[in-house]
């Protein structure tokens, strides 16, 4: 049983109440807490030494990453983050300077995004450093973006370039908060998610939630220089396209809009965010799963992002 199967099993029986608009299963939970025309977003995320960072990772980058992951989920709902609380698990003989630097990195990002850090918990985690961040934010009701709104015929877009984030981007990515809010304010976005598990995996979350399929145009997928660099590291290296489809921690925005909106979005985007790439990578189709189109035809993409050759 993998992480997603476990989550699916656990979320089937979660307690709910009448404040819940969207429970577990989207980028954030959505709650109606009587805050006028705004909904509350609620999210938790964790990073663990040896999994999401190493003993060699600068502590400022660890703190920054832990918060940035949560903020990326709030971005994916077109929300604005308000406040966060932090749990740090530390080996008993922790180094004070190390912890202060974790907070320094976290605080710098929080200040830049107007997020208040309003509580924390330090606890012993004897064997390794762990940070768990929970964040709340708000979004105008009519602008909240879910995974479940993709429609057959939609154009699929992704920001930035994908793959190879392990070379550095997984520590210094920018949560796409301003970009997502701008999209929600100016266009009718049908569905959105942040790319944390890899393009193929996160697109599948949209497809499953929306009960549709997707056809991606191979040549349109934006491959990062880092993914290309890794692909040149020998015969056993992951091909750059596969890296772009399956590497995690890109933290870009993946969204769908009606096809007639595709050109207006691309035009307006270039003016608004000239330094950040926006790519139309395919379309939503009837059915399920992801197909990849190239010059030789259309083939299904396996769960691991590799291409089935028939």
């Amino acid at each position: 049983m993998n992480e997603f199967e476990l989550i699916a099993r656990l979320t089937r029986t979660l307690p709910t109440n009448n404040s819940v608009v969207v429970g577990a299963g989207d980028d954030c939970a959505v709650l109606d807490v009587g805050a006028g025309d705004r909904w509350l977003l609620f999210k938790t995320d964790a990073v663990v030494e040896g999994v999401h960072f190493t003993r060699e990772t600068p502590p400022e980058a660890i703190g920054r990453k832990a918060l940035a992951r949560c903020l990326s989920d709030i971005a994916a709902m077109a929300g604005t983050p308000t406040a966060a609380v932090i749990t740090i698990g530390l080996p008993k003989e922790f180094n004070l300077e190390f912890v202060e630097k974790i907070y320094a990195g976290l605080n710098t990002l929080a200040k830049a995004q107007g997020v208040a850090i309003v509580g924390g918990e330090t606890t012993i985690n004897p064997d390794r450093v762990l940070l768990s961040v929970a964040a709340i934010g708000f979004v105008q009701r009519e602008r909240v973006l879910l995974r479940s709104g993709a429609k057959v015929g939609d154009a699929i877009f992704v920001t930035g370039e994908l793959g190879g984030s392990i070379l550095g981007r997984h520590l210094n990515f920018e949560p796409r908060l301003a970009e997502a809010r701008w999209l929600a304010e100016n266009f009718s976005i049908h569905s959105m998610i942040d790319v944390s598990d890899g393009l193929a995996g996160d697109l599948r979350h949209i497809l499953t939630s929306s009960a549709v399929g997707a056809e991606l145009l191979r040549a349109a997928i934006p491959i990062s220089p880092a993914a290309r660099e890794i692909s040149r590291r020998g015969d056993a290296a992951k091909p750059a396209l596969v890296a772009a489809l399956t590497d995690g921690e890109d933290f870009e925005l993946l969204f769908t809009v009606a096809s007639r909106t595709a050109v207006p979005i691309l035009d307006a985007w270039k003016n608004k965010f000239p330094s950040l790439k926006l790519s139309c990578i395919g379309k939503i189709i009837a059915g399920e799963g992801i197909k990849l189109r190239d010059e030789s035809g259309v083939r299904p993409l396996s769960a691991h992002g590799y291409i089935h050759f028939s």
Copy 2:
């Protein structure tokens, strides 16, 4: 440097914004999120294997405890919990049934208290199980109870009986949500905290926040049967009074009210909560620190709860 010194150092420089009414340093953060006459409460707390529970602890009790600790903090502000998100760190070869039982215990308490579980994160924590819970709740603005409102002359109250929770209560305590709300609705409570670090430690949090001192009446401190049982385990056992003053995880309410309110509260309490003890254990005085009065006089209490003999 202990946990409190670390927290004090870290909280000095936390980013804030104009939604923050009370930041880190009380039982919960208090935020004005435009929800009418209600303030939002936000809290995170964690339990770790080997620290807060053992490999022998029933998993249902682990899940219950992780959530109950957070709810106890919301109780201490006289709030009503709305929703929680859960991070579980698991060894790689986790046992599915174990995780489901953790959630079963957590869900049962959540349902009983009307709390929605709206998200979770499972992550690898290679060496031990860790649960981090973040919860939000709401409280009427005029009823929020802080640590900082104690006034000289106040009577000091505590619910329940203290000490020896390691014999079982630390796993099955009831967060005093209904009791705290009833107190806030019916009386002018000056300050409140939940007893998580031990009576002496948590009373000191009230005293420091309120810039006052306290005199406790030795004979009035409600000592639990568990604390008495442990004290009979030999000459090296912790005396029952010291246990009541310093053992952690009682999760009772500790609060102060004007002395003229003491008798009305005791009378009304007996009618409303006949099965839960409420004890007036002393008074707030000018100065700082805790003094203990018994038949032989008044002596200061050390930071560790032991009595200084002069």
